[in-house]
């Protein structure tokens, strides 16, 4: 678990990451968590910026704006 904590927007494509924290306002945090992105959740980055960041989480594919992806802090695990 020693990997550095970086924003999701900075992860190269194809890597698996684990969410560490969401640093967003209450509404957005709740929305992201309810869509399955919680601290501890494993996800895979399919497409990095520029343009929307696409991730796969809990079997679903989500597109996130750059600003949103910047607020999700993750650790690269694979």
């Amino acid at each position: 678990m020693g990997a550095p904590v970086i924003p999701l927007a900075a992860v190269p494509p194809g890597r698996e990451v684990i969410a560490v924290a969401i640093r967003a306002g209450r509404g957005l945090t709740l929305r992201l968590m309810e869509m399955g992105i919680l601290p501890g959740t494993r996800m895979r980055v399919l497409k990095p910026p520029p343009g929307p960041v696409v991730i796969e989480v809990r079997g679903a594919r989500l597109a996130l704006g750059w600003g949103v992806a910047q607020k999700i802090l993750v650790q690269v695990v694979a």
Binding site: G25, R26, G27, L28, T29, L30, R31, L32, M33, E34, M35, G36, L38, P39, L46, K47, P49, P50, G51, P52, V54, R58, G59, A60, R61, L62, A63, L64, G65, G67, V68
Partner: protein
Amino acid sequence: MGGCAKDSSTGCRLKVKREIVVAIAGQPNVGKSTLFNRLTGAHQHVGNWPGKTVERKEGYRDFAGYRIRFIDLPGTYSLSALGVEEQIARDFLAKEKYDVVVNIVDASNLERNLYLTLQIAELTPRVIIALNMMDLAEQKGLRINVEKLRRRLGVPIVPMIAVKGKGIEELLRTIIDVVENRIEPQLPHITYSPELEQAVDEIENIIRHRNLHRQLGYHPHWLAHKVLEEDFFVLQSIEEKDPDAYSTLTTLIEQIGKRLGGPPSVAMVQARYKLLREICAPLIEKRPVKPTLWERFDALALHPVVGPFFTLFIMLAFFVAVFSINTGFPLNYFLEWLGYPDIAVTLESYSLSGLLGEAFSSLAESMRIALADVPLWVQGLICDGIIAGVGAVVSFAPLIFLIGLGIGALEDSGFLARAAAVMHRPLKPLKIAGKGFIPLLLGFGCNVPSVMMCRGLYRECERRNCALIAGLVPCQARLAVILAIVTAIFSTPLAQIAVITSLYVVALLLLWVIGVLFAHTLFRREPSAQLVIELPPYRAPFVGNVLMYGWNLTKHFLKKAGTIIFLLAILMWFSLSYGPAGFTEDPSLSYAALLGHALTPFTRVFGASHWVLVLALITGFIAKEAVIETVALAAGTPSISEALGKLGVTPLQAYSLLLVVTIYIPCLATIATIWSETRSWRYVLLTILYMTGIALLLATLVYQLGAWLGF
């Protein structure tokens, strides 16, 4: 029930059915519309949830002696009141009377889908899970042990593939089983941490003590959960009803947050997902699968550079196809430009609206002959008022149906989600998500379907803002007026192109500025649109869904907007056919002309110095292309350049007039549609006022400045 109780003849029994109400709940992209269409077939009714721009679908199915009424709740990821959809769904589940909830769940995405299930379980135990997309789960390499899941969750589960109609019968039978108490669903209770449970108890005590649950109409235990989650709508209504209790509760939540070391809402979402992981993990077998073709396709659709062009290309192809079938536009202009005016004319006259227009005018003509003996005003009312009014309404129907089919197919195939993701940036300052790009693009063809398509946006504020500004997109009818006047007044191609381009730039710039303005005034309390969107797998659109979508949209338009369009058309007929001397066939003797005369002293400031021009602007409200007809008719010549010459219109006056035509009041069909979509006369009035106001102001400015500069 009473009347037939003694009569046992089958004929009567068929008529007397026990009615049961079933709510359908589910997350977006799980096949909810498909299920609803499969369950109800053609027996459905689409309206709006009271006071909201959210679609409300209701339908019924007769089964096993019951009439099952299905209410389709808005698709939501959760029941936390983040938006209007969530609020509607949960208020229905918390407050309305129903027998069963069918929760449709995507088998290929079980954990996240069951999150909603757990939230529904907090409101009612009477849940049936429709485990949809079993085929997709298989494709993704997932095998779900349905029997174990059924036992673990304690509710009936019906595996199904709604698109193929598999599992529908079993679902219906299960509904009846639950209604007749042969099965008693019992969802698992979520146990939160002892700290959270204690906090819920503390809050519930305050709620009961203050009688808040009675005042708000919710169950006290559920209400306590929502307060702990700091649910916006719940806290807001508590603040309204009982400010004292509100401040007690908020301080308590703050204390609890300190005790937990973070907001309780986060802990509660985590607790739900933890339970779901425990339930799902042992029941799902996963084997690796190769990435499918569409995954690679996404690299193109979402590419930062290629993506927008790709999206634009598909949308434009759709746009050209639909509008060309409907009116010949824009293919006709293209053909003319290529030097085939004959084909262009043929295309126009054989387009749907060309054929319909032909049919209505020949109907009017034959009626005129048949009614030769009745008073002229009756003839006028029937032929020019009623038939023309019905024609105006009906002529929109094929367009709306075609657009419904197209958008329905693009949505169902998963394409629209990509388009929304890739087009997110430009509309962000308007607090409109990327999806808003679609209605606005449609506006270049016609503002009516454009305003209707605002319903596809995610949030109430986006739909409203988009509907308010959609009228600013210069539609095809306005282009026709612009082209006619520009070619008549400006001689060089360069000047013509400059004028047309400037009008479009002004209109679109205004759209953007006004949109930003509304976003920061009317909708200032709404957060800006954040891009968080699910990209469902690409799939072939389900024909049943697409047809139903197009049909419902058209029906909605004819019923709601149609009535108003018809009434306004009659009103306009009256003002153009009646004058101080009674009925007249000469519009220049009508009340409208009188109004034109009366207004001319004022309209001089923006260059409309002849009353005919003012009358043309008035008739332009019926349909923009009427501006040209009026000018030609009143000047007594079919040639527009001659007519404008007779009226003494200078290039500067023409330009200022074009500015007004482009921006002022949208046509009456658009106005009627804005009403039928927003259900708010305030929005209608606002649209009329701001558009007309800006148009007149801008035209005056340009005219006065131009005159001062000596043009």
